[in-house]
Symmetry: C2
Subunit: 235 residues, 2 copies
């Protein structure tokens, strides 16, 4: 009962902080944040706290209470934003989606399929390393093997990345630019596995320089895609 | 207290089963198992039960009690074999070591570095898929990111695999058989990442035929290693 009283008090404070001016509720220019902006800010804080807890304790080990403690929010307030840990993971993936669109958007503008894949992979590896997301990727992947909701989210996310890459490879094959030795679905399965292994290993953090990594990636992709025309960057 | 009494009774039965003839204590030919054989058999049962629990509940979520329930053994008996979950993981890795030695032993007998790597990787992928070890690999990898004992075990295991592969690639470079575009330590880091991504994804279980996977792997390795001599299998 004491715990409930304490939580109710914190929730009340939380509500006050949504409407009243206080340091956390003001934008840098001193203007009051709108209710929607304040809500977005709270959601971002929850997602960051949840990532920290998932990496520290594992998805199974991290409780909603631990996430509350990490973000400094009452369970009542947290559950208003997210009904479950699965819902938090879905929101984390949704936030990552925009980043991935940017990383793999490079594919569309590239002058060759290999240049596009190298640029997209390098952007993704660099971004993952800078954000320190590798442990979270590994945790979500292992949780996806026993949790259907997480599996649906993780597979959906990977499916979207594959759906950005596959048509561009198909087009390059159709135009005779590349000539892979295996069918497209098999090529995609292998490429996605390789991408996952690279993301989980965070090679830049292990001291692999980005320029060397790019050379190795390009050599690997040239072997798998067998380009039939030379491009300036491939020479 | 009741639980303790129950456990003590089970432990007593356990002890009896170590020395007396009963169905579980007899070998197929009807001879009594020696104490050492019985001990090995118990250890195998514990390791299999622990794998099941780790995959089902995660390393954090699986308790020693759950492992006891899965194997049908008292905590007193289990702790006589393993003092912790970390010790169980170490024993699982030790058992895997022999399998890996066999898989990558193919490297030494191969006529070329690429043939050896393809054969070793295919043996490892096939073996991992048949044993259904991918979820356990993923779980151990993610646990290794927050648990120093597990990290030491997992890194030690990967280090041994790398130590089998690296000298053979170094020798092939020295003999002018291959000419990778990056230095050996970078090549090894990339190859090990790729191997991990493939192991975690269990491509055969996803419907990728082994013969197609071998073709894709060979093309990828030829791109990264740049063979300078053609070998019969590489044509």
């Amino acid at each position: 009962m004491r715990a409930n009283v304490r939580f109710l008090r914190e929730e009340k404070m939380e509500e006050l902080s949504n409407t009243e001016s206080q340091p956390g509720g003001e934008a840098m220019d001193g203007e009051l944040l709108s209710r929607a902006e304040r809500r977005d800010q709270q959601i971002q804080r929850i997602l960051e706290a949840a990532k920290t807890c998932f990496v520290r304790s594992g998805f199974q080990g991290a409780s909603m209470q631990q996430i509350c403690a990490e973000v400094g929010m009452s369970p009542g307030a947290l559950y208003r934003y997210f009904p479950s840990k699965e819902a938090i993971v879905e929101a984390i993936c949704e936030a990552d989606r925009q980043d991935d669109m940017t990383c793999f958007g490079a594919l569309r503008d590239a002058t060759s399929a290999i240049d596009g894949l190298v640029a997209g992979a390098m952007a993704h590896i660099t971004h993952t390393s800078m954000k320190g997301s590798a442990p979270l990727f590994a945790e979500m992947r292992s949780e996806s093997m026993r949790n259907e909701a997480i599996r649906a989210t993780v597979d959906g996310h990977k499916g979207e990345v594959a759906a950005m890459i596959e048509p561009l490879i198909a087009e390059a094959i159709a135009q005779g630019e590349i000539n892979p030795p295996v069918e497209l679905p098999i090529l995609m399965a292998v490429l996605m596995s390789i991408g996952e292994g690279m993301a989980i290993n965070d090679l830049p953090a292990r001291g692999v320089p980005l320029d060397k990594l790019e050379i190795a990636l390009r050599a690997m992709l040239e072997g798998m895609l067998r380009p039939t025309k030379s491009t300036p960057a491939a020479e």
